[in-house]
């Protein structure tokens, strides 16, 4: 685990992973509903890493050519949510959503559209669930599509430098019968981590109160 000065305690990491888990579980059930097939999920991971390290984590088991649908969010904390998968699989993913009865030409035609709307549904569901769990409100941008390697996706060379630390939450998904796999990732800017700690503490306090209060 890449620990750092402005770090989170173990219980804070646990709580964050649990909150992220609720969000991505909602995302996975949306994806499952859209493709009509079983979607397998890994255990969510929480890391504080540089953007560059985050980009390497995403590239690890993947081809370097990736596609991502991304949405920025702001509210009690700000960042970016991404649905990421190897570029070679994007048509197969689209086909699994629009149905096999469409021709390859139709699927190519619809690719951008379908990716944007799929990302929109999955990422919105994920972020909205997190907002509800935390009793906070988040604003989300429209979805956009980015193609490239991990560094491009996470703007390693952009305005925010690659050496800058971010809170990185990710989970792998796998559409069993389609050989389509990818990531759902949340990237949060570190300046808001103080705010994040406070929110996580509220969440933990809420659970403690529940467990000392009524049964259930």
């Amino acid at each position: 685990m890449n620990l750092n000065a402005s770090d989170l305690t173990e219980i804070e990491q646990d709580a964050l992973a649990e909150i992220a888990n609720m969000g991505v579980s909602r995302a996975a059930s949306s994806l499952r509903q859209m493709v009509g097939e079983q979607v397998l999920l890994s255990v969510p991971a929480v890391r504080i890493v540089t953007r560059e390290a985050a980009s390497k984590l995403v590239e690890r088991n993947n081809a370097k050519k990736l596609v991502a649908v991304q949405q920025s969010f702001e509210g009690p904390f700000a960042g970016k949510a991404l649905l990421i998968f190897p570029e070679a699989q994007s048509l197969e993913l689209v086909r699994s959503i629009v149905g096999d009865e469409h021709s390859l030409e139709d699927v190519i035609d619809l690719e951008q559209e379908a990716l944007a709307e799929t990302g929109n549904i999955i990422l919105n569901g994920c972020l909205a669930t997190i907002a509800n769990v935390l009793h906070r409100t988040m604003r989300m941008s429209l979805p956009s599509i980015v193609r490239g390697d991990g560094a491009t996706l996470f703007e390693v060379d952009g305005a925010a430098s690659g050496g800058q630390f971010v809170l990185f939450l990710y989970i792998d998904f796998n559409i069993k019968s389609r050989d389509v796999h990818g990531f759902i990732a949340l990237l949060m800017d570190l300046p808001s981590i103080a705010a994040l700690k406070e929110i996580v503490h509220d969440f933990i306090r809420g659970i403690e109160q529940q467990s000392t209060g009524h049964v259930g």
């Binding site: 509903q33 859209m34 959503i97 629009v98 619809l110 379908a114 909205a128 907002a131 988040m138």
Partner: protein, 127 residues
């Protein structure tokens, strides 16, 4: 009675999904599709719409702002927000505008429930 339903969504795929659900559960109703709020308002002002299904997250005017505008001229029109943004705040704001909320991914069951209620409301209003 066959009603005219306005579908407002910037995503063509989302409109396709909606149209396909109508073919299954209300094949006789007619759909008018628009990709944004401006075109939606122009269509509504012609008085040709009975029911409206509106995406929340759209470029320009968002779905809730659009509903607020529609409400000025059509306070009783059955309207629902259709969105994956299931935040309590969004659902609460929809309720304040007397609008329903249908979550994406769209299911036939959720759409059916809203449309049945909408048809009932329109029949009562017509009496």
């Amino acid at each position: 009675m066959n009603y005219k339903v306005l579908v407002v969504d910037d995503s063509k795929l989302a409109r396709m999904v909606m149209a396909s659900a109508f073919r299954r559960i209300r094949p006789d109703w007619s759909l008018i599709e628009t990709p944004n709020a401006d075109e939606a308002l122009a269509t509504v002002s012609k008085g040709a719409v009975d029911i409206a299904l509106i995406d929340f997250n759209m470029p320009g005017t968002d779905g809730l702002e659009l509903i607020a505008k529609i409400r000025k001229s059509y306070p009783g029109m059955p309207v629902a927000v259709v969105s994956a943004n299931v935040q309590d705040e969004i659902i609460g704001r929809a309720r304040q505008l007397d609008a329903g909320f249908i979550a994406k991914p769209l299911t036939d069951e959720a759409l059916e429930a809203f449309l049945s209620g909408a048809a009932l409301r329109l029949r009562k209003g017509a009496k």
